[in-house]
Amino acid sequence: MLGLSVDRLRADMNRLLALLFHQGVLDEQFLQLQQLQDESSPNFVSEVVNIYFHESEKLLRNLRGLLVDKEFSDYKKMGIHLNQFMGSSSSIGAQRVRNVCVAFRAASEQNNRAGCLRALELLEYEYCYLKNKLHELFQIEQQRILAAGVRYPQQRQQPNNP
């Protein structure tokens, strides 16, 4: 019942994580992030990831704003945004996003607007994928915590729901 679901949820989560690692969406840095979570900061990972989402969306909006402008020429500014995006992505282990940023940066250094546009689309895509997957991960995690929480009282008291 509930006990089963906890295990199943945990398996789901593991599987999802394994998949993401396989795909290179996440790398070891994400593991480090998880290890940093402890009793004193129990929500560390989700906290950081949410900050990351918030900041990244700002950056993506900025980047797009810069690029849609036909007279765009401020590649330096774009480079600054990119650098920040790269830094934060690599800090949470978003490997693929970071890789796209590297490519994006290369295009921007060559003042290649078309290349930048392509890279931006790719970046947005990868970012969205990451966000979805991480949301999924957090959802499973939450369910698991809930399920685990409900289980314990049952063990202590008389089981109400056999």
Partner: protein
Amino acid sequence: MACASGGKSEGAAVPDQFPVGLRVLVVDDDVVCLRVLEQMLRKCMYNVTSCSQATVALNLLRERKGCFDVVLSDVHMPDMDGFKLLELVGLEMDLPVIMMSADGRTNLVMRGIRHGACDYLIKPIRDEELKNIWQHVVRKRWTEIKEHDHSGSMEDHDRQKRAVDDAEYASSVNEGADEVLKAQRKRRDSKDEDDTEFENDDPTTAKKPRVVWSVELHQQFVSAVNQLGIDKAVPKRILELMNVPGLTRENVASHLQKFRLYLKRLSGVAQQQGVLPAYCGTVEQNLKLASLGRFDIQALVASGQLPPQALAALHAEFLSRPAGNLILPAMDQRTLLHASLQGSKCIPVDRNVAFGQPLMKCSSNITKQTSQSLMSNEDVHSEFAAWSSKHLGDMAPACALGSVNEPNSDMLMSFIQQQQQKQSIIPEPSRSINVQPSCLVVPSQSSPNFQAGNSPVSVNQNRGFRNVAVDHNNPLLQSNNSSGVGQTSEVESKPPCMLSEFGAAGSVSSVSSCSRNVKDVACQRVPSSPSTINAVLQVPNMNCMQGSYNGKLDMVQGSTRNSIYVGKGTFIPSRFAVDEHEFPVSNVSHQVKHYVQNNANKVKQESNMDLTENLAWHSEAALAALFAPQTTA
């Protein structure tokens, strides 16, 4: 906050807990990184203060002087350049500063070194790297002490020795060397000098009282220097002019060095550019001859990795002065050297050795990269020239060696040897950079990443998340690769190996099952997908495989279980690349089903066992890493 709890806890109680309680100030405008670093540093048991603005950080440092041991700063910040912060902290507070950036390209790292960074970390920063930052604190203290060793009074000497002992004690205790501990204790006790300055045994704070160069003090210093004239500004005379009680000659000397560097950076391009080549050649030669053990130059030069130009570049870079073209024409070494040294009272040996030391440290990294970047680095040339013009003429203060006026190429060697004999201090201890190899990421890091899973981008451009699954196994990094859709010919290294191993494993049957599915699906991108899969079997050519997956996956939504995601195994980051060539191909289709975006529970469960089996071919470590955190989360 930082002051109150700073460092005393470990100092008074158990010294061997150093570097616990190290007081770190982190500055980064990126909140994500800041938060992560903060947490990592806390885990290292450091005392962390974080700031997202450089100006705030600077004020904090100024207000709470002596409350921090080390500063970690990002390079790119909106309100102030990280390098500027670095310089200011170095000048005003004399703290070790470690730079960080997502950008680890050589030229930027070089700038960090030039501006005096103790270290340069590249994001993402691992906690192992952070655990080690205390070494910069210790190293700085030690070199400062050594710097004063020669010219300091007995008082200073012993007081500082005590600090050194403390530091040694701390680090030796870290290694658990009790005998050393006792010996040092005895040594310390035997030196019965005044110890009023030491409040506690904390190695991080127990040392000579650090002189804080406040704005007023600095003004006095500057006016004294101006009065004397920059050429004649000797620490002794500056000290007399300043007439500040409690200020020692060594304080002035070290500050003067920094000030000179600062001036150099401010002033324009130097004049004697011609000195550069000959000088470099000479230095290289002499360094080679002088067998400077600690430099490793020999190894570098011998291995042909350190061309004279690179050496020159490094010299110049170290002196942090933008320069012109660095190509070194052939020149008569003697005459040039002679010219450059005319009128000098003292050969700036310490200067040479100074740059030699960090030079070696960074060169060992830099030579790993193309030294072309150095050669074409505009910054180097005039930097060095500036250095030579200014310092050859007027280097006096910390020059422990006698003046060597022979205008010949042996001079460098001779004073370098003297340097070694007298063990005089490198005048730039605070600048001794320790650019660890780990920090310098090979610039071409983009390419391996690209290859991590190549696929054309355009496939999924116009699709929503339906194809999320698809694209994800075909990382799209097209911008630098001009490959067309379906042809990722630039693929190389591990991912392709995976696939080829996959093919080679002889699981033809499953592959053919895949190919069957591929045929079912219209591959709009790769018309030859069936044949490509066969081709895969013969030739480890990942490209086609990927291409075929691309096309096929467009139809993910339409097809049911046939949506193959065989390629999943192929896109594993090299880290996960497997030595064994087994790949449970029979599970491939399961994996694929699992990957369909339906999120059908039944699908997931079906593949549950499969996935773990599939993962069996991962290395143990990776597996453990993957699963361990989950159990604790």
